[in-house]
Amino acid sequence: MKILAIDCSAGAASACVWQDGKVLGECYTNVKLTHSQTLMPMVCGVLEYSKVDLQQIDLFAVTAGPGSFTGVRIGVASIKGMAFAQDKPCAGVSTLEAMAENLRVLDCTACCVMDARCGQVYNAMFEIKDGRICRLTPDRALSITELAKECAQTAAPVVLVGDGAELCANSPDFSPVHARLAPEPIRFQRACSTASCAARAAEAGTLVSAEELMPVYLRPPQAQRSLKRRHA
């Protein structure tokens, strides 16, 4: 089975062609949000250099959130368009789950974290042991302070991944946690990890049609507050 996977849910962007557990080709950039200009050339490039035609793709996969509003929208709309035209199924992968995939060989508690601004993060926790990834929490939005409190109670070593990893590592709240920062080459969600999650979704029979594929926006807790400031 051939999978075309893309990720542009945050600052980094990537596209990957995957066949039966093998990465045939991947293109990755981390130069901030210019995804509307760079994503499709990356898709074309990775297909061309992997010598795969778009018509040969069996499954279209994307990190469908959480992430930046614009990035998630570009990624989901692009994969939806391609899958719809080819009449092939889609997999919408959790961005946080995709980045946990990067740590699969490491026994640890993966703290997958993306910057949701204003001291808030998108997060999910996973326990990784003997190459198996087990989800401990749903994808959620919470404050760095709350997350640090939770992490401090974890027995296994905590490894931070994602574009919020450094933010957490540098936060005073996290100093009692002694969390380790995933090294830069595996710190961010990647299209190859997205493809790997999509392959499992295909096995589990949880694929969706292009019409059914939807972006996932998590609402940060700040959204409860008024946007207008009250003046005394």
Binding site: K32, S68, T70, Q222, S226, L227, K228
Partner: protein, 150 residues
């Protein structure tokens, strides 16, 4: 956190002068600034924005009330012109791409900042427009927390 606030007051006597003020401010912009505009309708906020755009070397500015955001990328720096008049909550705001543009390194001008004051970054320059003595007079207050904007 309590950085020193710098307040400057400027008076203009016509839309053309308000535009010229925008043009002057544009010369100092380096990218990444957020100019948060406050004040009721007809106070010259769009004229001011036209001036900033001209100063950056781009043009064609119109009010983005319906589109919520207009992007002008023909100048020295990209200019993102927001109108928050119809924005009523965080979901609305997020769907304009506001938070993504904040990190883009361009210049942001935010009309009707009253509506999203809680979402302005702390380093935003607050520019408040009010009517002066005569009909065409405008009192413009510029509050910045760091470098000189004028």
């Amino acid at each position: 956190m309590n950085t020193q606030k710098k307040v400057q007051n400027v008076q203009t006597h016509s839309a053309a002068e308000t535009e010229a003020l925008g043009k002057r401010i544009a010369q100092k912009l380096q990218g990444g600034e957020v100019l948060a505009l406050f004040g009721p309708m007809g106070m010259g906020k769009t004229a001011f924005t036209r001036g900033v755009a001209a100063g950056l070397g781009t043009g064609g500015v119109s009010s983005p009330t319906f589109a919520l955001v207009h992007v002008y990328d023909g100048g020295r720096l990209p200019l993102y012109h927001f109108d928050m008049y119809r924005v009523e909550g965080w979901d609305d705001l997020s769907s304009t791409g506001y938070f993504d543009y904040l990190e883009d390194g361009g210049v942001m001008i935010v009309e009707w900042s009253e509506n999203i004051e809680e979402a302005l970054p702390p380093e935003a320059v607050h520019i408040t427009f009010a009517r002066g003595k005569e009909d065409d007079d405008r009192l413009i207050t510029i509050e910045s927390s760091g470098s000189d904007i004028l």
